[in-house]
Symmetry: C2
């Protein structure tokens, strides 16, 4: 009933991998996209919506749930799966990213980090051990080590010190694990310095984790740097473990990272952009508020199998968006999540059938130069 | 394929009626509750959600749709049913109520009303003929005459003049009808003056409509006055036509009005209260934000068949509400609409089985004195 990763295939020309993750709450193939449920909900979605879309794993956020409603409350209510009525795998991040991006007045030491809540200003201390304890209470299938997400740009010295701290915290996280079936992933940091990334990966491998994440990217660096960091870091990670690129990215980023040998992705882009009226299609972005959609009877994408495209026109979606109706958030989110899940599914099929490069070339060609249709 | 009302039964002890309305887009039994879809959407609901709840007819708002996206746009897109993907009956109101409650700088004459849009301040003129024309473009199955909703309190003279105007407008609406299968309802006004209500009803009957609405209630008068107006007005309306109480009300108002012989209701209470975290149960109101629900694993109502109660605890709903998650709006709306639709269904069954008084007594008894559980 524990966590297992089967590497089923590595693509010949690129480094892309086809795998399968087995957890106590079901299995799913990789590459896989993980929609982000910060506060025990993928915004506007029920579990039934997610299942209809084809979502197989979701993430949740320890920082948010620790503050509200509290991990003890969720534990008392039978854990996160029961709390939010989601019976498939869940991944929780440690809260590190949010402590550093949302928390105020941070004080960092080898022991952990003290911060103020963004909700009410109350003071909190999280150590690696406490981060694991919170995630144990929540009961996710995959949990993450506490890390410091290094901002961009920073000096080599800052990145070096911070990466050493993340590695030390990873060691403490591993030691705090109770062996209750939760898979623990280590997080490679190192900023944009290749030697620090390499050192981080090497030391995490030595400690030994169920999976390895590439963290600290998509924080302001150029796309080129980001791609280089992914393509250099992924091969340093063990073949037999899943590789998880945290917090990224656009469809083209996912494709590049899959080619680079990454297995798991989580990102707020499909859901957040949906709420802002930006919809993904095979020919580029569609900005639903644009006047040209006002009388357009076509769905967002012809042939798309999502609920939104099967039932509603661009004209209706534009109307809902302009009238600030909450149904707009939901219908847009359904479409964008379906787009991501469907794209990743197509990538898996392409790897299975040895035609990934061909798929990627066709995918690029289909996109127009100008985004809004 | 036209509009038909069958009066199937009149309850012996009370004046309650069991009927059936047949339209080109399907039939449904009365008494029936009509959820309010102001802007071509019941806020946060898809059509599938509404069908699962058991909703058989919805309303839409001519004023809102005339201003945005425009009735011509909706007509061009195949009408309101197609625009919003709802294939069951729709009722549109004339916009009269919104012109008087939302519109600014109104000028009223026998010809119609000039007003400024609440969205952008633009000037508009709506005559009875234009109100019918807008509703013809929208293509609802049941449409309403333009009326002036009399505020409360007003002088007898104001109410008299206004009611005469509404009657004159009703006459013009009837004359503008093109006989395209849409059922037209007249609206009884008269404020809180029984003789004016009687005169209004008598004159509307003379003009002749497919159904008759009781308007201008729930605008500030006491519950006692409101009940008296309903119980005095309903018997003045033709037995063989449906009677529609506009804009009301709380569950107890619906029950009283059904006892008084009303067949149709629309009201924003279940949906608006849901968005404010107020949920209906058989034992009274439940305010979901209250701290006592924080660790309560029970559904909002034990045994309730709605999606929300089958899947989620009060603790989860409270968390979503406190975290301002949009899923809260949706799950709460599902529950409250189900409550209303289910209550009306129970009332129909009670009439069918000659036990309405008994049902109402038990229903009252079940409610606790103190509302929040």
């Amino acid at each position: 009933m524990g966590f297992t990763f089967h590497l089923m295939k590595t693509e010949k020309e690129a480094g892309a991998r086809l795998g399968k993750i087995i957890t106590a709450r079901g299995e799913f193939e990789t590459p896989a996209f993980i929609p982000v449920g910060s506060q025990a909900t993928i915004k506007s979605m029920t579990s039934d919506d997610l299942i209809e879309i084809g979502v197989e794993i979701i993430s949740n956020n320890s920082y948010h749930l620790y503050l509200r409603p509290g991990h003890r409350t969720i534990e008392q209510l039978g854990g996160l799966h029961r709390f939010m009525d989601w019976n498939r795998p869940i991944l929780t991040d440690s809260g590190g990213y949010q402590i550093f991006s949302l928390g105020q007045l941070r004080e960092i030491s080898t022991d952990g980090v003290t911060f103020q809540s963004h909700i009410d200003g109350s003071r909190h201390f999280i150590s690696p051990k406490i981060a694991i304890e919170i995630q144990r209470s929540l009961g996710a299938d995959i949990i993450m080590c506490l890390d410091e997400c290094i901002p961009y740009p920073v000096s080599y010295e800052y990145a070096q010190r911070s990466t050493a701290l993340t590695t030390e915290w990873a060691r403490q996280c591993k030691e705090s694990l109770r062996g209750n079936g939760q898979a623990l992933f280590g997080i490679v940091q190192g900023g944009t310095f290749e030697d620090l990334r390499e050192k981080s990966a090497r030391e995490l491998r030595k400690i030994g984790f169920d999976g390895y994440a590439i963290g600290g990217l998509g924080v302001g660096e150029s796309r080129e740097v980001m791609c280089r960091m992914v393509s250099r870091t992924a091969p340093l990670l063990p073949q037999e473990s899943p590789r998880y690129l945290m917090g990224l990215g656009k469809p083209e980023d996912l494709i590049d990272a899959v080619m680079g040998g990454v297995d798991l992705f989580d990102c707020v882009i499909p859901t957040r952009n949906a709420r802002n009226g930006m919809l993904f299609t095979s020919s580029g972005k569609l900005v639903i508020k644009n006047a040209r959609h006002a009388t357009d009877e076509r769905p967002v994408e012809e042939g798309c199998g999502c609920y939104t495209c099967r039932h509603h026109s661009r004209a209706y979606l534009r109307h809902l968006y302009m009238a600030r109706e909450t149904l707009a958030l939901r219908l847009n989110t359904i479409h964008n999540l379906y787009y991501y899940v469907h794209l990743i599914k197509q990538l898996r099929e392409a790897i299975r059938q040895d035609r990934l490069l061909d798929f990627c070339q066709k995918w690029q060609k289909k996109r127009k130069e100008k985004d809004d249709l």
